[in-house]
């Protein structure tokens, strides 16, 4: 089933646009900035692009699952021995293998076109990409499990995507966010993905030192997958139970705990400031005269 899902995705123009064209557009935008103002910023900026690529899994899988349910495609599978866990697992695995090529292309272009120095801690990057892809895909599956219509799915997706995009550090660097927003941002899974990738790319931080981030992402993915499987619906007309959205919120419990700790400890903020300062020129829209 995984192979079949991958084939279908490759034939879907919307998937190709959002999973390949859009992240590359961000890469070229950031790369042009780095090239013009501060070439050594490329690892830092690439980390943001990688995070955006990974977070795209969230949107794609939720829309696909709701589409399949509304069109009655899932109900035909229900008469077969395939269970809900297998359906969801094939979504996660196919999404992961479809995301990897984009990640590789982004690394290649960063080195060849934008002259990025080094590759960061590749093992940490690989682990973050793997766990991050599964986590955000699982979050997408949980959205699909608690919404009843495509319209509802799109609304929730847009709200969550907006928050991920602008408040996690994926577009506006974390240290540049207002302090109050930072205090909220440390409760988001996306923030730890961005920060983890930046530490891996800029500081070459090891997997062990990223343990808290990885553990939270893994915990979130597990909880999200289990809840998505429990709430999975095959029939177009079946509705999510009223408590479903509360159950879905349980998926972010690891990040609620981590966020509380971060607000007291400030560890993520310290690293984010350090990573931003580590690049040779500050990240600024003002041109530096060479």
């Amino acid at each position: 089933m995984t192979k079949s899902r991958m084939r279908l995705a490759m034939r879907n123009r919307a998937f190709l646009f959002f999973s390949l064209v859009t992240p590359l557009a961000f890469l070229f935008g950031y790369g042009a900035l780095a090239r013009r103002y501060s070439p050594s910023a490329m690892p830092y900026l690439l980390a943001m692009v990688l995070a955006l690529t990974i977070m795209g899994s969230f949107w794609g899988l939720s829309v696909q699952l709701v589409t399949f349910r509304e069109q009655g495609i899932l109900r035909r599978f229900r008469v077969t021995p395939v269970g809900s866990s297998a359906m969801l697992a094939s979504s996660l695995i196919s999404n992961y293998f479809l995301t990897l090529p984009t990640i590789v292309i982004e690394f290649y272009l960063s080195r060849s076109l934008f002259h990025m120095n080094g590759l960061g801690n590749l093992l940490s990057v690989f682990v973050l990409v793997t766990i991050g892809t599964v986590t955000f895909a699982s979050l997408g599956l949980i959205v699909a499990s608690v919404t009843n219509t495509m319209q509802e799915t799109q609304i929730i997706n847009q709200i969550i995507w907006f928050i991920f995009l602008f408040i996690s550090g994926a577009t506006i660097p974390f240290p540049k966010l207002p302090v109050l927003v930072q205090k909220f941002s440390v409760f988001l899974p996306a923030t730890y993905l961005v920060s983890g990738l930046q530490r891996a790319m800029v500081d070459h931080t090891s997997v062990v030192d990223l343990g808290a981030y990885l553990a939270s992402l893994v915990g979130c993915a597990l909880i999200a997958f289990i809840i998505a499987a429990q709430l999975f619906r095959w029939e177009p007309e079946s509705k999510a139970p009223r408590q479903a959205k509360l159950w879905a919120a349980a998926a972010v419990i690891p990040f609620i705990l981590l966020g509380i700790w971060e607000n007291f400890n400030g560890d993520l903020r310290r690293h984010a400031v350090k990573d931003m300062q580590s690049i040779s020129e500050p990240y600024s829209l003002e041109r530096i005269d060479h």
Partner: protein, 307 residues
């Protein structure tokens, strides 16, 4: 209730909100039998078959397919059944052969896609996308998918609904081939021709109940020996006297014809001829036919199957 039957349904009830879809449905299907559930839209046919397929749970009553409970038997149940749902949907960009290979991969034993493509006349469409198939081709693919695991029991829910008569007959030919393989098949339909042609036994369903059950021949014979006389006259009937002719229990106009249902055909015909002479009317055509299942349904419910 026949013990040891392949499909057993006993006192099935199902409610959707305030609507009672099934009100105590009971029947049994033997191995190798083609059994039809015949009734109008909303009679409870699809609800019954979806409970048998495990897609829905009944409110009360028991069902058993090959000795297994559809709700609790897990994958063991899924291995023995095949189903063509009332509407089968696949992703638009899935190819025909891919669909058969994918669904075959779900079962430990399954038929090969090339064999199914050939059998269901889809070889030329093996690489076509699902969205490129005609209605008849989609239905043939649905049948092929239902047979991919070589099941013991096959459920076909309205297999020819919405198809034109030519394509419908092609599907009938396929189902008749399945009959020869001695598969146990349960078909739901609202087409009389389909039930009469394909089914060994038929249960007529209306308002959530089985109102008659038997072979098509048995059902027609229980009609109270009512015979249908189709009459076409040169001038239309003006005073509604046809319904009062001797032996006539019912009279209906249908297009240019009049359908007379009579329990005493010779006397009705004599009375008809006399009536036409008195009205200075001419008989254009007259056809006498045995009652159909639709006539049985009309007799039992007072309504036509398609009303």
């Amino acid at each position: 209730m026949l013990s040891g039957a392949t499909i057993e349904v006993s006192n099935l009830t199902k409610r959707y909100g305030s609507v009672e879809a099934l009100r105590g449905v009971s029947f049994a299907v033997n191995e190798g039998e083609v059994f039809g559930l015949l009734g109008p839209n909303g009679a409870g046919k699809t609800s019954t078959v979806e409970i048998l397929e495990g897609l829905r749970a009944q409110d009360s009553g028991t069902v058993s397919v090959c000795g297994l409970d559809p709700q609790t038997s897990g994958v063991e149940f899924k291995y023995v059944i095949g189903a063509a749902l009332q509407s089968t949907a696949l992703p638009d960009t899935m190819r025909v052969q891919e669909a058969l290979e994918l669904f075959g991969s779900f079962y430990p034993k399954h038929r090969g896609a090339p064999e199914l493509l050939k059998r269901f006349g889809l070889e030329e469409k093996r690489n076509a996308f699902y969205s490129q198939l005609s209605g008849g081709q989609k239905q043939r693919l649905a049948l092929a998918m239902a047979l991919v695991n070589d099941p013991r029991v096959v459920f076909l829910d309205e297999p020819t609904a919405g198809l034109d008569p030519q394509v419908r007959r092609e599907i009938y030919d396929i189902i008749e081939e399945l009959k020869k393989e001695k598969k146990t098949i349960l078909i739901t339909t609202h087409y009389i021709e389909e039930a009469e042609r394909l089914c060994d036994r038929v249960a007529i369903v209306d308002h959530g109940k089985v109102i008659a059950l038997g072979t098509p021949r048995e059902l027609k014979q229980r009609s109270g020996a009512v015979t249908r006389i189709t009459v076409r006259m040169a001038k239309p009937e003006v005073n509604g006297a046809l319904g009062s002719l001797e032996g006539v229990t019912e009279c209906r106009a249908q297009d240019e014809d009049y359908l007379l249902y009579s329990t005493r055909v010779p006397r009705t015909i004599v009375a008809l001829v006399k009536h036409l002479e008195e009205q200075n009317n001419e008989l254009v055509s007259l056809e006498i036919s045995a009652p159909s299942l639709e006539d049985i349904f009309l007799e039992l419910t007072g309504r036509r199957l398609r009303d």
